[in-house]
Every structure is written in structure tokens, then in C-alpha cells.
């Protein structure tokens, strides 16, 4: 028993030495490496992103409530070993001397924030990073930390006193960034952050005042879930658990596309490696028929042969998987270290579970690609040793291909969790193979006729293709397949990168200006004009509450799913559509026939939440006044376009009587950043929301992920190379034999080389044509169904695919045959016999 294992290892070593298992091992390693690299990396990226969005909450979960947080909740949190903090938010007049301002006050407990960073500075409107520090908690009792703009608004300096209700606090820091600020426009007043301990003394919390309470929780995810499950029955309709989904849609989308692309590359490289493995395994098996026949004639039984080869494969598989896994983890570490400096949060440590797909890949490749061609080896009759011509029963090429494809579907689907994507790729591959089989036969027939009339070198080449027609067809299939996948991936990458750039075109507005009064608005516009800033439209805006739909109060069901019913929404009007808005139902104002009441255009998501249809009447409460409007159109829009966007856009003039304020967005290049100070100096009540940091972050991440994508592409190309190499190699013996014979018969080296080149270049050319067609179809469907980006044709793949393929395959063929050309024919024949 032990002896046969030692023998198996020894045989494996000898096979390795004679080069027979190298392509096999190389492809296995590559497959495992690529898969584990990508799965480990995306897993880390995903957990980092989740963590990042947690920072936008300031916690892992927040329970929002309009009632004070019951004290028994804390007991529950302690039971599950969770960290907690509380916050209380309300709008309140704050005073300094004769000045006052309606501030957005937030009182927090000492532990705040649980996740993410609260950054502060001693200097208002700071841009210098070295002056910004990370606070270790909220402000201590007796202090207030404030938005920079509150200082000019109240005409005070840091160190001066601000009175909140009845409690005087000392303004000690300005807030640069707080994790749970949110990007909603409801942040009207300037922020004032204070300690919860001072809250009672302010005396602002009276029955009936509108207060938002938040209970922040963080800790182990399982414990969190258990705690929330236990908490759920206690929650009333006033309370709502907020998780991380809602955070940062734009970045999430970009990264999701990137993740999909990486997945796609992984799948494609696994497919390529699978093909290479299958070819190499087939070749290995063919070469070992004689060895097995010999061993059987020497008395080795079927079972011991099976054992010998089984152990070899197992050891090879395990070794390749381990090496592949190691390489993959190393590689993702390289990518990760490049990305980590830009990601807003540290990447999570690699998890063991994310290495499973890699190991699984090794196993699947072993079972479905390596084992089938080897399966018949133990049944090779010993008589084969006496009768060379004896047929060996073997798994047919087509069965093997089918089995492999099946394995691929499963692997790819399990791996990506995306059955759609994997089956479309596999279908495209099947279609391509069919196409190739048909066209290759036709082309070969055509070639034969042409060959009769051609010069001698061409005749030689075409005749050789013709003679090995079965093999030529199979080779063309493999080349075309590899090329199709490579071409698709390369141009997909280009499309993607362009798409990402399109998402955030240069000069995307990176600052929002809100709360501009009607009298200020011409002056603000003028000031921006003076600074050569690109002034967008100034949108009027009023805060309103949706009270009735078709004269009735919204039902309980609608109330549950439409969060906007529980808070105020922003209304605006406009006579032109933002470029990212699309009317999907009804008419925009230019075609709308006024029915005698105001019209409103509703965002599609809001319309479905509220079950609104065209022609419905909705009633808004605007500071005690009512406004009725009829739904005139439904719009889709892109929230991540950085343009001011509204759920409800009214018909022109409908809001004029409701004293709107104005808002706009503007692109400020870094050197024009001081404009904010100038603006706020003149118009202290204007609110500026700075999006530039977020945008810079998104762009940096996109750049890094792009380079990760390029790296992947390199690996996939390597996989493609393996396939081609394996395919060229698989026919090499026959071709060498022929070439050696021809040389022995006096054919010149030149002629031989020329004909070999032509032979392989033709193979490459045919494959290129079919690969280009296949990948065009595949690309269009991926664009349409998977990535959801605009369709575009790819003339480049036709040009480069066909030319490159002819050159590459031709060169590969000549390179692997160069031995025949350079060795004296006599010696060559002896080596080959």
C-alpha cells in the first residue's frame, strides 16, 4: 500500500521531469490562483465597503425613534455584549449676543460615534489637513462643537459662548466632518454638537417638540442580529431600525460593476484554464496509453493502475491548488496594498471562507477536466503492447467537452451567484463551438480547392490542414474560444472604464448651495458669475408634508413603505428637465395641458412607494398652507449625478406664493475653494454642502480598481496563452513527424518554415474571424443584460482579433516546431519514432 504511494510519487516526479504534466500543472495553478485572488479580494473589499457604509451611520445599526429610547434596551445590548450610544436631534434657536440662528442641534452621549470618525479643527473653514484632528468622542459637557459657518452667522469666535435654550455652552471646536451627517438637504441650520449631559439644562425638550432620537449600536454581527430579533417585538411604529443599505449609492454602483467585471475575468480565466487543462490532460492520457499497456503486461492490475494514476492526480491537484492558493492570496495582497491607501477604511483581513472558491476550482478542474480523459487508462488492454493498432476505448472529445462545460456552469454559477451571467457565457461558447465546427469544415473544403491552384508552399500548408482536418477543426474551436473570451474581456474593460468616467464627467458639480433667499439669489448668481463659475439653474425649494392622496389620508400600508410620509420633503418647480431626468409616463410641462390646478412630476420610485398614478391629486401642507397638485408625469433620475434632484417637481410658478428658498450646485476646482468663505461671509445663511471629498474618493477608488482590473486581464491573457500553447502542442508530434519526413525527403528549411507558418496562421485567421463574431455577440448581450450600459459596436476586436490571432497562432506554431527545422532530419526521425 505504502509502496504504491511512493511509486506514484516517483512516477509523478518522472512525468514532471519529462515535461508531460507541466502545462497541466501550470493551468491548474493559474485557475486556482486567479479564482482565489479575486474571491479573496472582492470579499475583503465587500466587507470593507460594508464597514465604510457603517461609518455613514456612525454605527452598525441605528434605531431611530420619535420617542426617547427606553432604558431597558440597554440591558438587552449588555446581554449581547454590544456597544451603544445615543443621540438626540432637534432644531433650536441658538443665541450669541444679539445674533441668533435656527441650528440643527445634536446632543450625543460620550461613546459617540461608535463607527467612523468625527473630525474637528481649531480653525474655521479649514482646508489644511494638518490642522484637522480626529475627536475621540463627542464634545465634553459644557462645550459645543459647531459648523464653521455658525461662527460668522452668530458673529463669534471659537471660545465664545453660545446659548442653547437656557444653557450657555462654550464653542471650542469646529466640525469638519461627522460620520452620520447624511447628505440629505434637511440639514438646514448649522450643526451644533453638544453633550447629552447638558440636554436637560437647555430646557428645550418640551412635550410636542419635534425631536429625533437615535440609538446607535455596534458589535459582533451575529450578536447584533440576535439582539435585534429580541428587540423587534418591542418596537412600535415610531421606531425604525436603519441599516447600511442606503449609504452611498454612487460608489456602491461603481464598485459593484467592478466586482462583476472581476468575477467575469475570474470566470473567463477559469474557463480558459479549464480548456487548457482538458487539452493537456488528454494529451497526457494519450501519451500514457503505452506506459499503461506496458505496466499491465508486466502484471499490474486494473486497480493498481487506477491507484497509481489516482494518487498522481490527487497529489498534482493538491500541490497545484496549494501553490495556486498561495499565489492567489499573494496577488490579492499586492492589489489590496495598492488600494488600501485610498479606501476610506482598512480592508478586512482575508477570511478562510473566501478561499473556498479557489480550492473548489482546483477540485472541479481535477474531477471534470483531468479525470475524464484519464478514465479509460486503467482499461487499456495489455495486448496493446503487442498490437499497436488496437483501439483504446476513450471518452469521446464531445462528451468530455460537454462534461467540462457542465462543470463550468456549476462552478461559475456557484462562484458568481449569477446564473444568468454564467449561462449566457456558456451558451455563447456553445454557439461559438457550433459555428466554428460548421465554418471550419467549409473553409477547409474551400482551402483545398484553392490549394490546388496555389504555389507550392501554400499547397503544402493547405494539404496539411486538410489531412489533419479533424484535428484542425478541434484546434480552431479551441483557438476561437480562447480568443473570443480574451477579446470580450479586453474590450469590456475599455467599455467599463469609459462608463466609469462617464458616470462622473469632469466638472461634475461638487458643492451644493442651499437656503438662498429669493432676494439673495440674483446676487449669489452674480457673485458666481464674477468668479467664472459655471452657474447651474437655481431651483426654488419649499419644505412640505404630503398629507392627502386623492383627498384621502394615505393608507397604513403606504404609510409603512413610504418613508417620505413621515418627514418633510422638498418641492421645487422647473420648466426644464435636468439632463439625467427622463419622463417615463405622462407629459412634461411643454406638452401638458393645464387642468386648472397645479401639476406635479413625481420621481418613479416615490410614485411606486406612494402608489401614485397619472391624474392622481396630491395635497401638500406647506407651513400650514395647502397646495393641491395633479400628477402630470413620472420621471426617472440619477441620484448620483450630483445635480439637485427632487421627488416632486411642480409646474412653473406653482410655488411662487410659498416663499421658496433657492438651491443650486456648482463645480469648484480646488484652487477656488476660498470662494466658499467669500460666499458665506456675504451670505451667512446660505448652506454649503461639500461633496468634493466624496467625489475625489470615488475617483481614486475607480482608478485603483481599474488597475486591479488590468492586472486580472494580464492573468487571463496568460490563461489564453496556456490554452493556445496546449492546443498547438497537442498536434505537434504528428506535425513534427511530417515535417521531419519532408525534410528527410529534401524539402528546404525555408519552404517548410513557410508552409508551417501559413498553416498555423490560417488556423489563427479562421479562428480570429469566428472569435470576433462570437465576442461581438457576447459583448452586446453582456452590455445589455448584465452591466446595463449603452450598446456600442466594437470594430477594434474585428481588426485586432483577426490580425493578432493569425500572427500569434502562426508564430506559436513555428516556435514550437523550430526544433524540427533546426535538428538534422535523421536525428529527428529517430527521436520521433
Amino acid at each position: 500500500m505504502l509502496k504504491s504511494q511512493v511509486l506514484a510519487l516517483r512516477l509523478l516526479w518522472r512525468n514532471w521531469r519529462s515535461g508531460e504534466v507541466r502545462i497541466l500543472a501550470g493551468s491548474l495553478v493559474l485557475a486556482v490562483a486567479v479564482v482565489s485572488c479575486i474571491s479573496v479580494f472582492t470579499d475583503r473589499l465587500e466587507s470593507a465597503l460594508t464597514a465604510q457604509s457603517h461609518t455613514f451611520l456612525g454605527a452598525d445599526r441605528v434605531v431611530r425613534s420619535s420617542q426617547p429610547i427606553p432604558s431597558d434596551w440597554q440591558v438587552l445590548a449588555d446581554k449581547y455584549d454590544l456597544r451603544t450610544a445615543t443621540k438626540t436631534q432637534f432644531a433650536s434657536m441658538v443665541f450669541a449676543g444679539n445674533e441668533m440662528h435656527l441650528a440643527a442641534v445634536k446632543a450625543v452621549s460620550d461613546a459617540y460615534p461608535l463607527v467612523g470618525e468625527l473630525t474637528v479643527s481649531q480653525q474655521p473653514f479649514v482646508t489644511d489637513k494638518s490642522l484637522i484632528t480626529v475627536a475621540e468622542g463627542g464634545p465634553p459637557a459644557g462645550e459645543a462643537w459647531v459648523d464653521s459657518r455658525l461662527l460668522p452667522l452668530l458673529q463669534i469666535q471659537l471660545g465664545d459662548q453660545i446659548v442653547v435654550g437656557e444653557k450657555p455652552l462654550t464653542a471650542t471646536r469646529v466640525i469638519v466632518d461627522e460620520p452620520d451627517r447624511g447628505s440629505s438637504f434637511s440639514a438646514y441650520g448649522a450643526r451644533l454638537l453638544m453633550n447629552e449631559a447638558d440636554l436637560a439644562a437647555t430646557n428645550v425638550i418640551q412635550p410636542g417638540s419635534r425631536i429625533g432620537y437615535g440609538w446607535l449600536v455596534a458589535g459582533d454581527e451575529n450578536n447584533l442580529e440576535s439582539m435585534l430579533a429580541e428587540l423587534a417585538p418591542k418596537l412600535t411604529s415610531h421606531e425604525k431600525v436603519v441599516d447600511v443599505e442606503s449609504a452611498q449609492r454612487g460608489l456602491a454602483r461603481t464598485l459593484d460593476t467592478a466586482r462583476k467585471f472581476l468575477m467575469l475575468s475570474a470566470m473567463i480565466s477559469v474557463l480558459l484554464a479549464g480548456v487548457a487543462i482538458a487539452i493537456a490532460a488528454r494529451r497526457f492520457a494519450n501519451r500514457h496509453v503505452d506506459q499503461v499497456a506496458l505496466m499491465k503486461s508486466l502484471g499490474a492490475g486494473c486497480s493498481s493502475i487506477r491507484q497509481l494514476y489516482g494518487i498522481q492526480l490527487l497529489v498534482l491537484g493538491v500541490l497545484a491548488s496549494v501553490i495556486g492558493l498561495g499565489l492567489g492570496v499573494l496577488l490579492q495582497e499586492v492589489i489590496a496594498s495598492g488600494v488600501s491607501s485610498i479606501l476610506p477604511v482598512a480592508l478586512a483581513a482575508p477570511r478562510w471562507t473566501s478561499m473556498l472558491p479557489g480550492i473548489l476550482t482546483g477540485l472541479v478542474c481535477l474531477v471534470f477536466f483531468v479525470a475524464p480523459p484519464m478514465w479509460h487508462l486503467p482499461t487499456v488492454p495489455p495486448l496493446k503492447i503487442l498490437r499497436r493498432e488496437l483501439a483504446v476505448n476513450s471518452v469521446s472529445f464531445y462528451w468530455q467537452a460537454l462534461l467540462g462545460l457542465l462543470a463550468m456552469v456549476v462552478l461559475v454559477a456557484v462562484f458568481s451567484g449569477d446564473w444568468w451571467l454564467s449561462s449566457s457565457i456558456i451558451l455563447a461558447m456553445l454557439a461559438l463551438l457550433l459555428l466554428v465546427a460548421v465554418f471550419a469544415s467549409i473553409l477547409l473544403g474551400l482551402g483545398q480547392r484553392l490549394g490546388r491552384r496555389a504555389g507550392s508552399v501554400w499547397r503544402l500548408a493547405l494539404a496539411s490542414l486538410q489531412r489533419n482536418s479533424r484535428q484542425s477543426v478541434v484546434q480552431m474551436m479551441v483557438f476561437a474560444l480562447a480568443l473570443m473570451l480574451l477579446l470580450s474581456l479586453t474590450s469590456l474593460r475599455t467599455t467599463l472604464l469609459q462608463d466609469w468616467k462617464l458616470q462622473l464627467p469632469p466638472e461634475t458639480p461638487n458643492h451644493f448651495l442651499l437656503n438662498i433667499t429669493p432676494s439673495e439669489s440674483p446676487q449669489v448668481a452674480e457673485l458666481m458669475e464674477q468668479q467664472n463659475l459655471n452657474v447651474q439653474q437655481l431651483f426654488p425649494m419649499v419644505r412640505a408634508r404630503l398629507t392627502h392622496i386623492n383627498g384621502e389620508e394615505p393608507s397604513e400600508d403606504i404609510r409603512k413603505q413610504a418613508e417620505m410620509l413621515r418627514r418633510e420633503v422638498n418641492l421645487s418647480w422647473s420648466d426644464r428637465l435636468n439632463s439625467d431626468n427622463n419622463v417615463v409616463a405622462g407629459e412634461w410641462w411643454d406638452h401638458w395641458r393645464e387642468p386648472g390646478i397645479a401639476g406635479v412630476s413625481v420621481e418613479a420610485g416615490a410614485a411606486s412607494d406612494l402608489a401614485l398614478e397619472l391624474g392622481d391629486d396630491i395635497t401638500f401642507d406647506i407651513g400650514g398652507l395647502t397646495l393641491e397638485a395633479r400628477v402630470a408625469s413620472i420621471r426617472t433620475l440619477k441620484w448620483d449625478s450630483m445635480n439637485p434632484n427632487f421627488y416632486f417637481l411642480l409646474s412653473p410658478g406653482a410655488l411662487d406664493e410659498f416663499s421658496p428658498t433657492y438651491l443650486t450646485s456648482v463645480y469648484l476646482p480646488p484652487e477656488k475653494k476660498p470662494f466658499i468663505n467669500q460666499l458665506l461671509g456675504r451670505f451667512p445663511t446660505v448652506v454649503v454642502i461639500e461633496m468634493d471629498r466624496v467625489i475625489a474618493q470615488i475617483q481614486a477608488i475607480v482608478a485603483q480598481v481599474s488597475s486591479g482590473v488590468e492586472l486580472m486581464l494580464g492573468l487571463v491573457l496568460l490563461g489564453g496563452f496556456f490554452v493556445m500553447w496546449a492546443a498547438v502542442g497537442s498536434s505537434m508530434e504528428d506535425r513534427m513527424q511530417e515535417a521531419a519526413l519532408l525534410r528527410a525527403l529534401g524539402s528546404s528549411r525555408h519552404r517548410l518554415l513557410g508552409s508551417l507558418w501559413i498553416e498555423f496562421a490560417l488556423l489563427g485567421l479562421f479562428s480570429g474571424v469566428m472569435a470576433a463574431a462570437g465576442s461581438e455577440i457576447l459583448l452586446l448581450s453582456i452590455q445589455y443584460w448584465v452591466l446595463d450600459i449603452p450598446l456600442s459596436f466594437h470594430w477594434g476586436i474585428w481588426l485586432w482579433g483577426i490580425l493578432g490571432s493569425a500572427l500569434l497562432v502562426g508564430t506559436l506554431g513555428v516556435l514550437s516546431c523550430r526544433k524540427v527545422i533546426s535538428t538534422p532530419p535523421g536525428l529527428m526521425l529517430r527521436e520521433l519514432s
Binding site: 509502496k3 518522472r14 508531460e20 503486461s297 502484471g299 495489455p382 498490437r387
Partner: protein, 226 residues
């Protein structure tokens, strides 16, 4: 040692049933030698395959070293081959990826023989190849390759050795050398030899000779057998 009774072999082809062997009987004693001759296509290789337990006859029996191998399944025949049988082939059948030494070690390793390396070296030295242990088959001449094959066959010390045209691919001088080697080892180790050949010279070395034609024994020397 080896006894065959009324061996017949038919195969069905598209053109109908083809009789390759027709009631062949023979008997070889331990330490003896038998040559099977005949023109091409007369059924020599087929007979050898059946005698060695590589193939099954359509009818008749083969007894090899007390085992009636025609009654055994392939797995059990393999065991008999492992214990008693060695082969030398016309086309040498060396594994191209292995060195001469490893080729000889192969059956020993397969049978789990202790000190396979030492034994292999010993037999390679016996056939005069001690200087070429680590050469690959393609670096050796045809005669040298056949000597490696002979070393491989004798290294497992078989009771009976089957050879199908062992000199077929060699020039007459090299062939003569290989023949000498075979019989030298036959004498030393008492190995029974069964050879297929169409070379008169080789056949004459053997104590027994049969001649096949169209699957039938048409000549038998000396006549006492069967």
C-alpha cells in the same frame, strides 16, 4: 511450465469470421526454449499474446506454471504475469520519459521489490550498459535500447520470458549480440524462453521450434512434443 491445448482464435470482421489460430497445441518445460516462426500474418503474435495471458483464445486452454490462465479473469492473469512472466518486444517499448535505469526499475517498483535500484544497476551492467544508466532511450542506439529491454525483462527474474521479434528492428550483428544475451541469461537463471521470430538463426538456438502458417502448426521440431 507452459502447456497449450487446441488453441483457436476467431475474430469477426466486416467480411465475416476470420480464423487466426486453428487448434494449436504445444508444451514447454521449465528452462526450455521455444521458437515460433512463420510468415507474416500467420498468427505468431496472436499466439504469443494468448500464451502470455495478454489475450484470450476463442477455445482451448493454456496452463502457465500450474495456473490455468485461460480460466482466469484479466485481474488474476495480471497477478500471474506479475509473478512469473517477462517480456521483450520488437519495438523495445521503453518509456521515453524515463532513463535506462528507471525503465529497468519500473517493473521492480511495480512489484514492490526491495532494492530495485541495485538490481536494475546489476542487470544493466550484465547487458553491458553500466555506462549509460542515466541516458534516455532516445540517446541510445536500437541495440542498446533492446538490451535495456532485456535487462528490464530479466531484472524481475521471471520464470518464463516471452519475446516478440526481439531482433526484428536490429541489424544482424547487433541481433546476434542480443540473441547471445538472451540465451546466456536463460542458462544462468533457468528462465524458460518463448520467442517469436522469422530469423532462422535465432530459431536454431531454441530446443523446440514450431512453424505456423495460416494459424496452423505446419512443422514441429523436435517432433516429440504435442
Amino acid at each position: 511450465m507452459l502447456e497449450a491445448q487446441t488453441l483457436s482464435k476467431q475474430v469477426t470482421t466486416a467480411a465475416g469470421t476470420l480464423t487466426i489460430l486453428n487448434e494449436v497445441s504445444l508444451c514447454v518445460k521449465a528452462g526450455d526454449s521455444l521458437a515460433i516462426t512463420g510468415s507474416s500474418g500467420s498468427g505468431k503474435s496472436t499466439l504469443l499474446g494468448i500464451l502470455a495471458g495478454l489475450d484470450e483464445p476463442s477455445s482451448g486452454q493454456v496452463k502457465l506454471h500450474q495456473h490455468e490462465i485461460t480460466a482466469l479473469n484479466e485481474e488474476r492473469r495480471a497477478k500471474v504475469r506479475a509473478d512469473h512472466v517477462g517480456f521483450v518486444f520488437q519495438s523495445f517499448q521503453l518509456l521515453p520519459g524515463l532513463t535506462a535505469l528507471e525503465n529497468v526499475m519500473m517493473p521492480l517498483e511495480l512489484h514492490g521489490v526491495a532494492n530495485a535500484r541495485g538490481k536494475a544497476e546489476f542487470f544493466l551492467t550484465r547487458v553491458g550498459l553500466n555506462g549509460r544508466l542515466h541516458h534516455y532511450p532516445k540517446q541510445l542506439s536500437g541495440g542498446e535500447q533492446q538490451r535495456v529491454a532485456i535487462a528490464r525483462a530479466f531484472a524481475s527474474e521471471p520464470d518464463i520470458l516471452f519475446a516478440d521479434e526481439p531482433t526484428g528492428n536490429l541489424d544482424s550483428e547487433t541481433g546476434a549480440h542480443v540473441i547471445d544475451l538472451l540465451f546466456e541469461l536463460n542458462r544462468e537463471q533457468g528462465t524458460t524462453l518463448v520467442l517469436v521470430t522469422h530469423e532462422q538463426r535465432l530459431a536454431e538456438h531454441c530446443r523446440q521450434r514450431i512453424r505456423l502458417e495460416g494459424g496452423k502448426v505446419i512443422e514441429r521440431k523436435p517432433c516429440e512434443a504435442a
